[in-house]
């Protein structure tokens, strides 16, 4: 019995590994098929996407470009507020406020992304339209919504990182006559650097892979956007938009799988970076 259970546990653990490898293999294999019909250069560097034209085109550059731009933009919006919010919670806020904010942040991590998308669609897009003119769809509203979505993640991880620093560091700085601000800025934030970067990378991962919220506010036209308020498409929303029109095994479908494979590779790369950071901060 004991031995049989042990093998059952080992079996489940192996299954987890088998699953992730089959995902990589299945999606990767299906995606690579696209290069039988089109060149690698066209897929990555052409922004002409016309899969149902009489002479179909499969250039995904616009999607890749918008994905990267959107991710950077949302990180740029979220990080300053998230880090100062984390400092506030870890070092300044009174206890009752902290006990209110922490569960609130957890709640917001749990709110479904379609709900964020709906707020984007019904509040932010119309507001952008009124303020800047035009219909209001594009990278900017998407980045704002994403920033709100990843803010709690980055904030919680940063707060944990600051909180886990030994009080000795803070005492040392204050005992030298530093003000609280000097202590935060020159000692606490640098010392919690690895934690903050981990939070930012996790936030990036979520921003790159987010689909529904972005779909609802980005406009979904195929173009390399020339402004932040021009309708465009990112990798995830291109998949959602086109997948329903394709049949399994066609070039079009394979191109979408290639995009998914790209998303998968980026996510795995980010996890790898987090592991490297963790290993480096273990050895002083």
């Amino acid at each position: 019995m004991d031995l049989r259970m042990k093998w059952l546990f080992i079996g489940s653990a192996s299954l987890v590994s088998i699953i992730i490898f089959s995902i990589i293999l299945f999606v990767g294999f299906q995606g690579i098929q696209v290069f039988r019909d089109i060149s690698i250069a066209e897929f990555f560097f052409s922004s002409s996407w016309a899969p149902s034209a009489s002479e179909p085109r499969f250039g995904a550059f616009a999607f890749i470009y918008s994905t990267l731009l959107l991710t950077l933009l949302s990180i740029a919006l979220a990080v300053p507020l998230a880090v100062s919010g984390a400092v506030f919670m870890a070092k300044i806020a009174p206890k009752w406020m902290r006990e209110l904010l922490r569960p609130a942040a957890d709640l917001f991590v749990g709110i479904p992304s379609v709900v964020y998308g709906l707020i984007g669609l019904t509040v932010i897009v119309p507001w952008m339209g009124r303020t800047f003119g035009g219909p209001g769809y594009g990278l900017l509203p998407a980045a704002v919504i994403l920033a709100v979505m990843i803010l709690p993640t980055i904030m919680s991880i940063t707060e944990d990182a600051i909180r886990s620093l030994p009080t000795r560091l803070e005492e040392a700085s204050l005992a030298l006559g530093a003000t609280r601000w000097q202590t935060i800025w020159r000692v606490l934030i640098p010392a919690s650097g690895p934690g903050i970067i981990t939070g930012i990378i996790l936030g990036m991962g979520r921003a790159i892979g987010e689909t529904m919220a972005v779909f609802m506010v980005i406009g979904n036209s195929v173009s390399v956007p020339s402004s932040l308020l021009e309708s465009t498409t990112v990798l995830t929303t291109a998949i959602v938009k086109d997948m329903g029109n394709t049949f399994y095994g066609t070039t079009w479908s394979n191109a979408l799988y290639m995009m998914a494979f790209l998303l998968l590779l980026i996510s795995l790369l980010l996890i790898l970076i987090i592991r490297l950071i963790a290993r480096r901060s273990e050895t002083p």
């Binding site: 030994p166 000795r168 560091l169 803070e170 005492e171 040392a172 700085s173 204050l174 005992a175 030298l176 006559g177 530093a178 003000t179 000097q182 020159r186 000692v187 640098p190 010392a191 002083p284």
Partner: protein, 253 residues
């Protein structure tokens, strides 16, 4: 004593919530002397030390009444600038607490926060402080290496150098050798002796031999009260209070 004491404490009481941790302390500490605070653990000696640069402010629920004058100035006044007080009254902690930065940046931290930015001004300050802390020869070739790579004794001397770089008048030392091996302890003790020529030093120690070796004055704390203060040699040969005698002859503690 005709001259004004460097530190004058009177009617000092400290409460942690309901706990009366320091009870009516009176103490004068003359300039450029070493004063050792001894007593069994939990007697309030470390707490008392931390009232002198208001480090207890960091602890939630602490209430302090009474007078603590540094150079005749009441440090518990509302308008006291705590940062500038701590610049004058520096502290070395029980466990070495270097920042996770390079050795140079550790020592330069104080001068930098007090407004010295130019590298050309910082370099001589760093060198002078490390020399004063008797650490220069050991680290001069690796100033840009992380301070966390130093041994415990070196880290503690680095913390002393970091403190000297802000040019305080008073050094508070909270059992600075309790986490160190005997050789490092000896080095820190020698260093303390040399520093006496320029600084007023108050050191907490649980080690009576150490108090006898290095200090000019000794104060004995028990249960939150200051039992007795005297010149160290007199205290250890002819204590006037029975409890002091019991403690230094090893009957308790």
């Amino acid at each position: 004593m005709t001259t004004q004491p460097k530190i004058h404490v009177s009617d000092l009481n400290l409460y942690y919530g309901d706990n009366h941790a320091l009870n009516n302390i009176h103490l004068d500490i003359p300039e450029k002397s070493i004063c050792a605070l001894i007593g069994p653990s939990g007697c309030g000696k470390s707490t008392f030390l931390r009232t002198l640069n208001r480090m207890n402010d960091l602890i939630h629920g602490v209430k302090i009444t009474g007078k603590v004058l540094v150079d005749g100035q009441q440090i518990y006044n509302q308008d006291m600038d705590v940062a500038s007080l701590r610049k004058r009254v520096g502290m070395v902690f029980q466990r070495p607490n270097p920042f996770p930065m390079s050795i140079f940046d550790n020592v330069a931290y104080g001068p930098r926060i007090h407004g010295i930015r130019k590298k050309s001004e910082l370099v001589p300050i760093v060198e002078r402080s490390l020399r004063q802390a008797a650490l220069w020869d050991e680290v001069k070739d690796r100033l840009n290496k992380s301070a966390l790579g130093l041994s415990g004794g070196q880290q503690q001397r680095l913390c002393i150098a970091r403190l000297l770089a802000v040019e305080p008048d008073v050094l508070l030392m909270d059992e600075p050798t309790s986490a160190l091996d005997p050789i490092s302890t000896l080095k820190v003790e020698e260093l303390t002796q040399q520093l006496k020529e320029r600084y007023t030093i108050i050191t907490v120690t649980h080690n009576m031999q150490q108090a006898a070796r290095i200090s000019d004055y000794t104060s004995f704390f028990l249960n939150g009260q200051l039992v007795e203060t005297d010149q160290t040699d007199r205290m250890f040969t002819a204590p006037s209070d029975k409890r002091t005698e019991d403690y230094i002859t090893g009957r308790f503690g």
